[in-house]
């Protein structure tokens, strides 16, 4: 195995770093690298060159798009950044008339709605996924899971329309007056009940995140090997203990990935949120206050802006981009170290043979 590594790393088809973590039994990757090094690389004929050019062309287009995305947005936002300096992020005053551009309130509202949405979506999502993959009989769980998977594809504008025309009146008439009557909790819900506001925006985000969360968590729970479950059962665990001690820990990285993905979506959701959050530009004092997230600010302010104000709106996009990139990269770094640890679960394709081989 060791002698082939030198050739493997020199190029050719195959997976990169995974080769090292593969069990000793499957040397196929190494073999492929070896063969590839001998055959593919030494015999690069003209046909291969055209192919290489096409492939590299695609990659270059992709890289060019990514680079130009960052560069063009930062470029257009630069005048506003120069104009406002650090107060662009830390100031809470957004007043185009006096040319004061501070995104502080938008950042607070973005984090608030996303956080509240996650607070609602994570427990419900994980518990739903557990119910679907572990508890419900398959006859019932199958169709329900499929339905929820399909709902993950519902366009956000449809959710937004439903929230605007159906939920806003319901919240104004029933939900918000009810919340204002609950002792202690009601201090979070002071102010006028308009229907629109931070609370409804968070609910909408939660509804949008739920199907994705459930679908991805379910896949992660499914991926925990039968052997792990059987081991926990053999130790005398009840069904719940198997779930709690074997399945959820085994699916942990998958669940974290689901949360990260949902969070990224919620941070960047603009249209649906702009429909229901109300558009207030001062710091919220209650969850019923109206607000403006980074995304909804762009939707609301972009068309009627010009000059330095337009640059400032594009600056909001850059801030939003930074937030989602940090969330994404952070999520990936969070998940990655666990992947390479020794006791990590076997990958699904390696589980299958043990499951099928059991009868023998």
């Amino acid at each position: 195995m060791v002698h082939s590594v030198g050739i493997v790393t020199s190029g050719g088809p195959g997976a990169e770093s995974e080769a090292g973590t593969r069990p000793a039994g499957s040397t196929s990757f190494e073999r492929r690298g070896h063969v590839a090094a001998l055959i593919a690389h030494r015999h690069r004929r003209p046909g291969g060159r055209v192919y290489t050019a096409l492939r590299w062309g695609g990659v270059l287009i992709f890289v060019a798009v990514v680079v130009s995305l960052v560069v063009s947005l930062v470029w257009q936002a630069a005048p506003a950044f120069r104009h406002s300096g650090f107060s662009f992020i830390f100031s809470g005053t957004w007043d185009p008339d006096t040319e004061k551009f501070g995104a502080g309130v938008f950042i607070v509202d973005t984090l608030l709605t996303t956080g509240l949405g996650l607070l609602m979506a994570i427990p419900v999502g994980i518990a739903t996924a557990v119910a679907l993959s572990e508890f419900l009989p398959r006859r019932l769980a199958g169709p329900l899971s499929t339905a929820i998977d399909l709902l993950a594809a519902v366009p956000s504008i449809v959710v937004g329309l439903w929230a605007l025309l159906i939920l806003v009146p319901v919240f104004e008439r029933d939900v918000e007056p009810f919340l204002q009557k609950i002792p202690l909790v009601r201090h979070l819900f002071t102010g006028e009940d308009l229907g629109t506001g931070i609370l409804l925006a968070s609910v909408v985000l939660a509804v949008m995140m739920l199907p994705t969360m459930v679908a991805l968590t379910r896949v992660a729970l499914r991926g925990v090997s039968v052997a792990d479950r059987e081991a926990a059962l053999a130790l005398g665990g009840t069904q719940w203990q198997v779930v709690r001690r074997a399945v959820i820990p085994g699916a942990r990285s998958g669940i974290e990935a689901a949360i990260t993905l949902a969070m990224g979506r919620a941070l960047g959701e603009a249209i649906a949120v702009s429909l229901v959050i109300g558009g207030g530009v001062s710091l919220p004092h209650s969850l019923l206050d109206t607000g403006t997230t980074l995304g909804s600010a762009v939707v609301n302010f972009f068309s009627e802006s010009s000059g330095i104000q337009r640059s400032a709106v594009i600056g909001l996009v850059v801030v939003l981009l930074a937030f989602t990139a940090v969330a994404n990269i952070g999520g990936q770094l969070l998940i990655r170290p666990r992947r390479s640890r020794g006791y990590e679960r076997a990958e699904p394709e390696e589980v299958a043979p043990t499951g099928e081989g059991a009868p023998a």
Binding site: R31, Q241, R265, V298, F302, V317, L320, A327
Partner: protein, 314 residues
């Protein structure tokens, strides 16, 4: 612990006397029973919690679909699919402009995104090392970029230099393509990785060029997965509003020239749904229903192909 309270004796025969064995057996039985009862109770409680969560999750999702279908069906008619919007205040009219616009815009986006996605995925599957790892990382980060940012990017890149003539269907297509590429890359790569190593080995050992391997072995075997992934990418793009909001401008006429301003279904929902006018709102609901059906058909098609392929792979 209870076991140690047994009068300790060093006489083995005393320990093995039937009475003593029975006594100890009882202790164990009781302990295990009460433990099992406690654990079962906990298990049932958590199971109930999970079922309640399932209901909490299903209610809003069912309400969302239910209301869309209920309100949407009321606005549907044959003319809704064949006519352009009626002038304000005039009853009737349809969304033919938006349906045609969505088909053209998304179609062009797919034409732009699928080849690039395929090329990048092939690159990632064949190459190893830092370049591939970096590109995979970038693709992962790209797939999380907010769609509104992509819309503003397309505006900054195309509409700003070109002026008003930059407002065109094709600009929206470009934005949607940027949105789709990372999704397609991931799906294609997963599909290609599922091609058995032995097939690669065999093809390479026969002296096939890599282009030949890619065409005859990788693409052929990964095709169902690739089609599924691309369809899901298209389904995602069909429903996006934010990339189109500042790029296609909208049009009340049946426009088939992608270099002119066009209408799309998400845009119709956005502009009509936010009006305080009963007729326009009903148009928005009906459009939402049509869009929902579009997206669901694409998703179900993708899943059908995937399940068909896995069944026939064995």
């Amino acid at each position: 612990m209870t076991l140690t309270s047994e009068p300790s004796t060093h006489d083995p025969s005393e320990l093995l006397s039937p009475a003593s064995v029975e006594r100890r057996r009882d202790v164990v039985r009781q302990a295990s029973r009460s433990s099992l009862r406690r654990r079962r109770l906990l298990g049932n409680a958590t199971r109930a919690v999970c079922y309640v969560a399932l209901c909490i999750a299903l209610v809003p999702l069912a309400a969302l679909v239910g209301y869309t279908v209920d309100r949407g069906v009321q606005g549907l008619s044959w003319g809704f699919f064949t006519q352009v919007p009626a002038p304000y205040g005039v009853p009737g009219g349809g969304i033919a402009n938006a349906i045609v616009g969505t088909l053209i815009i998304v179609g062009l986006a797919a034409v732009m995104a699928i080849p690039v996605g395929l090329a990048v995925a092939l690159f990632l599957v064949e190459r190893r090392g830092r370049v591939a790892a970096a590109i995979r990382f970038v693709a992962d980060v790209m797939s999380g970029i907010p769609s509104i940012a992509i819309g503003i990017y397309a505006y900054a890149l195309i509409v700003v230099p070109l002026g008003p003539s930059g407002y065109a269907g094709i600009t929206g297509s470009f934005a949607l393509a940027v949105l789709m590429v990372p999704i397609i890359v991931r799906a294609d790569e997963v599909a290609m990785r599922a091609v058995p190593d032995d097939l690669w080995d065999a093809a390479l050992a026969l002296g096939a060029r890599r282009s030949r391997v890619a065409r005859s072995v990788v693409l052929r075997n990964a095709l169902p997965g690739i089609v599924t992934g691309n369809l899901l990418g298209v389904a995602r793009a069909v429903g996006e509003t934010a990339p189109l909001l500042f790029t296609i401008f909208g049009s009340q006429f049946l426009e088939t020239n992608p270099f002119k301003p066009m209408q799309a279904m998400p845009l119709t929902i956005y502009t009509d749904g936010t009006q305080a006018d009963a007729h326009l709102q009903s148009v928005a609901w009906a459009t939402a229903l049509v869009l929902l059906v579009f997206v669901l058909v694409l998703s179900i098609g993708a899943r059908t192909i995937a399940s068909y392929a896995t069944r026939h792979a064995r």
